[in-house]
Symmetry: C6
Subunit: 208 residues, 6 copies
């Protein structure tokens, strides 16, 4: 399933979810429309509710709010924000809070036009303050990522282990902002290469 990923395309993040106890790698994608949302239509005066396939639309809406209000991406999005689509690839349904971080990163990636490094997975629940919270089964998630050839992971700060035990380089983050900073510098308009050494570099698409 992951073999069809297009390298260097913004808006795609892989998350190791748990279906029961079985780990499964799922690609989460975001799409951003050129238009501005209609404030009247969703009733909260700001942004249109993201449309979701295989993901919980209410949760995606909350994650967009956290992204808008708790990180610098909010300035990029403006008010009202453009139209968002988020989807899990492959007809899979993901309802775990553990996918929060990946969904928010996919939204941020499509918003600033920079792709997420293709050898990275991300997992963690997001709280409304933007904090990244522990989720169960970190070990199994990381093992599945390693088995599929991923070499690094954005994980909650509390995640135990290191690259020796997990076989994957761990980047521990406490907040969504830290996660965004770990990937690239998010100052609006800046288009320099990403800051994590060795990661793929993608010039930001022209901001609209």
């Amino acid at each position: 399933m992951l073999g069809d990923r297009m390298a260097g395309v913004p808006g795609s993040v892989v998350v190791p979810v748990l279906q029961g106890r079985r780990p499964l790698l799922v690609e989460v994608q975001a799409l951003l429309g050129p238009g501005r949302g209609s404030a009247a239509a969703n009733g909260n005066g700001s942004s249109p509710r993201p449309q979701a396939l295989g993901l919980d639309a209410s949760r995606a809406n909350l994650l967009l709010a956290v992204l808008s209000w708790r990180t610098a991406v909010g300035d990029l999005l403006g008010k009202p924000a453009p139209e968002f689509f988020v989807a899990a690839v492959g007809g899979i349904s993901v309802s775990e809070p553990a996918a929060d971080l990946a969904i928010a990163l996919a939204m941020a990636s499509i918003a600033d036009g920079r792709s997420i490094p293709p050898d990275l997975v991300a997992f963690g629940e997001l709280g409304l303050a933007g904090e990244v919270r522990t989720v169960p089964g970190a070990e199994r998630r990381l093992a599945e990522a390693r088995r599929a050839g991923f070499s690094r992971a954005l994980v909650p700060a509390s995640t135990p282990g290191d690259s020796t035990t997990t076989g994957v380089a761990l980047h521990r983050v406490r907040t969504l902002s830290e996660a965004l900073d770990a990937i690239h510098d998010h100052r609006v308009g800046r288009t320099s290469p990403v800051t994590m050494p060795g990661w793929s570099t993608v010039a930001a698409a022209a901001s609209r």
Copy 2:
């Protein structure tokens, strides 16, 4: 689960709920958008309906109405009120009226920018007059809070016991206003330290 809480961040309150007979500590969070709601969109001419995850959206809406109309927080919120999100952390679903007080306090905390003391739990049903009503299982709720290291609790006035028997300092309140006063002085614009001795002090975020 509670280990990831960010100290001093407004909008977070812990409530001991009962799942069947088993007590469980759940963190309730609120998030407040910068924008003003669109009155036309929710049809009641005042505020947008809060969006809820893991909580009952209709109940959250009613609690916001009680907060707006029965306490001084209504003045802070203005009309129409800003956008609200409320969520239970950890993918948990809470439907007990016993969580009313905690949800309303989380909303009030995010509205005035002051955090709730981190060693506090709160429980109690709210009536439409703003009164805090008795809920079953107070003893089990308090025991669970003590076991997790919480040292005080906002509880309905009728709750029996004292700190000797429960191991937790009880602050009995009859109304939501009393609960808010017990935490800090709610006069609009005031940014002094909270008034309960020994509690963590958080300067109010700049009111919008």
Copy 3:
């Protein structure tokens, strides 16, 4: 459950409902917002649909229509009417038409700012002409009210028995208007004590 009622607060009425054959006393509450409803939002050009918790929102909407169009309270409410919330206290779900009279009285009480006497229960189905209709199980309802210490009841005109047999003083009413008159004089703006001798007197809250 009824021990937490706040005396003298408008908008609260107790109704003895039947859950199967078991009688249960339920407090019904109403809350009225300061704002005016948005006519466009509910599509009937008059009032916003009441929001309901533990009660049937469609039925509450119909009861509000009966109250507006069949009694003098309609003049108080104006057009469009303000926002209404109605709720059953304690997380209970009430679907019996027998609760109609209590719900309508709670709405009327919050609308004119006068409380309902605290020792009163009320039950009866309302027809669209405003008539109070017989409901089954009057005897069991009254027995439960007496057991809980209530001393009077507003009941449908056809209800058999008297205070000797029921232990509760019966006030038989044929219409919602008669029920309102039985409690207090509803002329708009009047703030004199309630007219039923011996009942608690509550000065009407300042009408808006």
Copy 4:
């Protein structure tokens, strides 16, 4: 259940329905608001959708359309039509097309302010052309009406039998207009007594 009917009040019609094979007399009521509907809100440019309790709201909406477009009552209602409520009394749910005629008559009665004779039942399905169509079980319906003391019935033209066999005077009608004519002269503004000899006379309520 039928003992609480208020004599001479417009908007009430009794229909013998079948619950399985058991006949049951149900009172159908209509209520009409003073306001005009908001055309934008229901999307068909004409009238607000009636609100229904215990009846099918979609069916009630279609019956209102037939009443508006196939009979003279449409002129009374104007465009957009006022708000309508229709309800089955007693917490009963009626889904039989056989109740169509009674629901439409209740709407017509509340619209022109004249009551339906209290000793009358009505049944029959309505087609979109306004025709009254045969329904099963006419014999059982009429027997139940007779047992409850009703003395006449508006029935589909094809209904067999006569007052000797059924014990109820049968008024056979082919269309809704004929049914309305059979009850009273519907010329707008006319307030003379109803035209069926021996029926109760109700001066039309002041038209709004």
Copy 5:
């Protein structure tokens, strides 16, 4: 059930449907309001969504689109189109695509004010290009129509057999337009008798 049909009334078409393997004749009716739809309310800038009873409202909406965009009836309807109701008579639920042709013909009939010949049945699925598609069980459908006294049928072009074997005269059509032409000349405003010899003649109702 079919005995109550009113001869010469536009908007009524009979379709032989299959309930499981059993054929059943169902009368489909359409009703057209005098008003123009509100474009804002249905969100597609053209016509109000038809309201349906016993038929699938989404399917009816699609059939109206095909009628409007693939045949000359679209000119009659104008933009936005008037309000449509469609219903299956007798409390029956029809979900078969085989009823498409009959529903579209009923809409066309009410739109141009000419009735469909009373001895005609019609069946066939409609594609979005307006093509009439084969449906299963043609033989059983035609046998049922013959048994009930119908003498002709509009059927998909691929339907086998002839009047000798089926007992019903077959009019094979490839598109909805051909079906409309087979019944009468659809040029707007023309009110001459229908063109199929021997069919009942209905002067078109005054076009609005």
Copy 6:
């Protein structure tokens, strides 16, 4: 079922889906209205949500977004886009992501007025970046297409086999744009014959 297809009509594409493990050829159709959508009605400021029968409306909406934002067809559609209907012929329900490519091609075909070659099937999941992703069961899908007489197939780039083994000429595509180019040149306003040799030529309908 496929025998009723009208040759040369835009908006029709055949997809081999899997019902369980059984392959089934389904015709997907699109219809495009002359009107422009109402931006206010769907709340995302761009296009009306397509209406879908037998297909997932949310998925169809996402596919329209991908078509609009990731290919040149977006320029044809303009903003807001016209009304779209998409349907699966024959009363079949299709929920497989494998139908994505066919649905998007049907929409593109109706948008530019050129038909899809009648001997072509297409399958593949679409990602939000417009990439065509692998789906399971390619072999069985192609075998079914060959059995029904189809001679070519648009398939995901990763699909194994060649025309010798599958009996169908395979056109492998990596993106939706490549798929559109494989069928015909999509430059707006261009009406030359399609570019794939041997395919049916359809002059583009007059662009609006």
